[in-house]
Amino acid sequence: MSDHIAAIDAIAAKYDNDPTRLLDMLLAVQEQERYVSDAATRLLAQKLGLSWGDIQQTVSFYHLLSQEPRGKYTVYLNNGPVSIMQGYEGVATAFSEAVGCSFGSVTADGRIGLFTTADMGMGDQEVAALINNVVFTNLTPEKARILVKAMQKGVPAQDMVTDNTEYGKYGDGNNSLPSIHSMVCNNLIKPGPVCFGPYQAGAALRKCVAQSPEQVLAEVKASKLRGRGGAGFPTGMKWELCAKAEGPERCVVANADEGEPGTFKDRVLLTERAQLLFEGMAVCAYAIKATTGALYLRGEYAYLKDYLEQVLEQMRSDNLLGKDIAGKPGFDFLISGCSWVLAPMSAARNQLLESAEGRRGEPRNRPPFPAQSGFHTMPTVIDNVETLAATVQIIDKGATWFRSLGTEESTGTKVLSISGDCDRPGVYEVEFGITLGELLTLAGARDPQAAQVGGPSGRCLNAAARDTAISFEDCPSAGAILIIGAQHDLLTIIDNFMAFFTEESCGSCVPCRTGTWMLRNTLRRIMHGQGTREDLTSMRQLSAVMQKTTKCGLGHTAANPILNTLDNFPHLYDALIPEQTDIRSFDLEAAVQASNLTVGRASVAKEEQV
């Protein structure tokens, strides 16, 4: 027991007993003890001057934290749409059979726990799983059985990925560096001129310090760069708002949370262009006179943390971060390191801040906006990593060069994550304005039925939409494009999206918490042949209410999968609604089955089925 107390003390001390680092501490506890026990919660509360309730609400929010033991090995198998399209069922069955327990439970001896997780940022190499924070990709039933054997033998999860063994081998590029050592592959199919173009470290920063912050800001504004996280807010304007906000200190937060399910481009950017990103943060810091920076990584990218911290260390010794950066007296900017965001959908900036400060990832009420009062109440710029990376090239090569790429309103390039039924899933950096049809050809989609652009909350397009352009004018997105081939049932994928929203809603506001669940409930009734015409109407009404009354972007857009398919694929619904609706479809046999079994009756037989 005293060992336990000492262990918790040590974890708290590692993060300076700072309550805002609660998430880091909880993750450390989880890693050490394989769960966050009530005892650990009470100890941490005491140590940090928080209440049990404060910690409880944080712990219970994040699905990678658990309040019950989840096994010495915890397997999180991705059950997202791509995974399902690429063989999830078979892999899951192989895991369950080899381990001897079902998903959602732990073996009797406490060795292996099997759980599912939503999007992991590995859409180009599904089926993927996380075992004790180590990523495994391209799983097959056979590979699953090999992994289970290794777990039963007690091989540490990290050791299952080596240079080339039966378990798995390192991925390409930096993935094989000792500080990463991951089997994740980049799948960088088409590099473009901005994020993956030629880059000379430090060049942009040296140009920055030769100008005034106002000139840097003006250059970014002139580039017409807009946020790459999906919403497309003009970056220069955001920086300017923050620069003008009152506050003793300012802050730059890089959002590497990849909140839009189906995106994985930030993963590749972080692996291959980390310094470009960090330099972008420094450019922003110079322009808005910020002194503090933070990078928020999604929990699934934990394997990149050591590497990223090495890059930061290198940049500090190269005088590209730290004090008097690039020889400019008084230009001080420090990136504190990488912290964690654990909820897949916390992309909306306000949720990210709550998470970053150790609380539930719930949206804050606005106003105030982050630019006025953000991270620890500092005026804060929160930008997607791709946005920050682009500013480096804008400063280095000029706004005019940047504007020559893309379209009038959508300048520059967009890094897209393409997954699903195509020959070449992976990362594509293309100029804005490229059409969906061109992309389908590039990726080698043979028989597409639908393309989901922008993740579950984006748009579900049908074959008639090949001319849709990827741009803020036409179809904005954070870059996730999921191709659904004709061989897959589209409504099953839509159901998967709705399951995601039902789970990822923070639960705070009624129309989102209840609406997502009700839409899914109604969709499933329809899929089971129990739907009515009124259900279609009520789904539309409910969707409209969600758009108008929910608190944040997740709720505003959570009905999109339903609305889009009602609009673009009405025949799928029509085929499922029974003609006769005065007498509802009802499976009487199923409804009396439990009674029959209990009392020992054969069947209800006397009742006609409808």
Binding site: F586, V599, E607
Partner: protein, 183 residues
């Protein structure tokens, strides 16, 4: 012109709604002027002798016989009215909806203080005439289309009377605040 025919049924209910209906007191004489009676527990007519215009349904569906009865009503009646909380949302019987049916039956016939001694052979009643319990109690509108809903436990007599007169005469029903209640 013949008078509209009214039928009533009590499914998984307590007959409280029927009692409340009878609470219209002397106004039943006015009602008789307006309608004639079809199948109903009130007059003990057990089968549909002809199709009816309006049926008042009390109670939700908790066994296969209720499903059968409700479907018959839908086939034979022009307008179905869900009367009372049980018809609308399952009501008190639906409190069992989150308890597995096996547990319900065991509690009722094997384990409760009043039955455990009386049923030493641990027998569940299983005569084939007995209807089978459904996995949960279903609101009527999940089984057939219901046209109107009169909430209350029971719905106030004034509400039932007002609604019936409105349906029969084709006028808009009045819903005074104090009459529409869920308890």
């Amino acid at each position: 012109m013949s008078k509209p025919i009214i039928a009533t049924a009590s499914l998984a209910g307590c007959f409280g709604c029927h009692m409340s209906f009878l609470d219209i007191d002397e106004r039943i004489l006015d009602l008789v002027e307006l309608v004639q009676w079809g199948k109903s527990p009130i007059n003990d007519i057990k089968t549909f002798q002809q199709d009816c215009d309006i049926a008042l349904i009390e109670g939700g569906c908790c066994n296969d016989e209720h499903i059968h009865t409700l479907r018959e009503f839908r086939k034979h009646c022009r307008i179905l009215v869900a009367v009372g909380e049980c018809a609308i949302m399952g009501g008190l019987p639906a409190m069992r909806n989150n308890i597995p049916i096996k547990e319900c039956l065991e509690e009722a016939y094997l384990n409760s203080p009043s039955t455990s001694d009386a049923n030493p052979d641990k027998i569940f009643p299983n005569d084939e005439e007995l209807p089978m319990l459904l996995d949960k109690v279903y609101p009527c509108h999940e089984i057939v289309k219901m046209d109107y809903f009169l909430p209350g436990c029971p719905p106030r007599a004034d509400l039932i009377y007002g609604a019936l007169v409105a349906l029969v005469t084709g006028q808009e029903a009045e819903l005074p605040y104090e009459v529409v209640k869920f308890d």
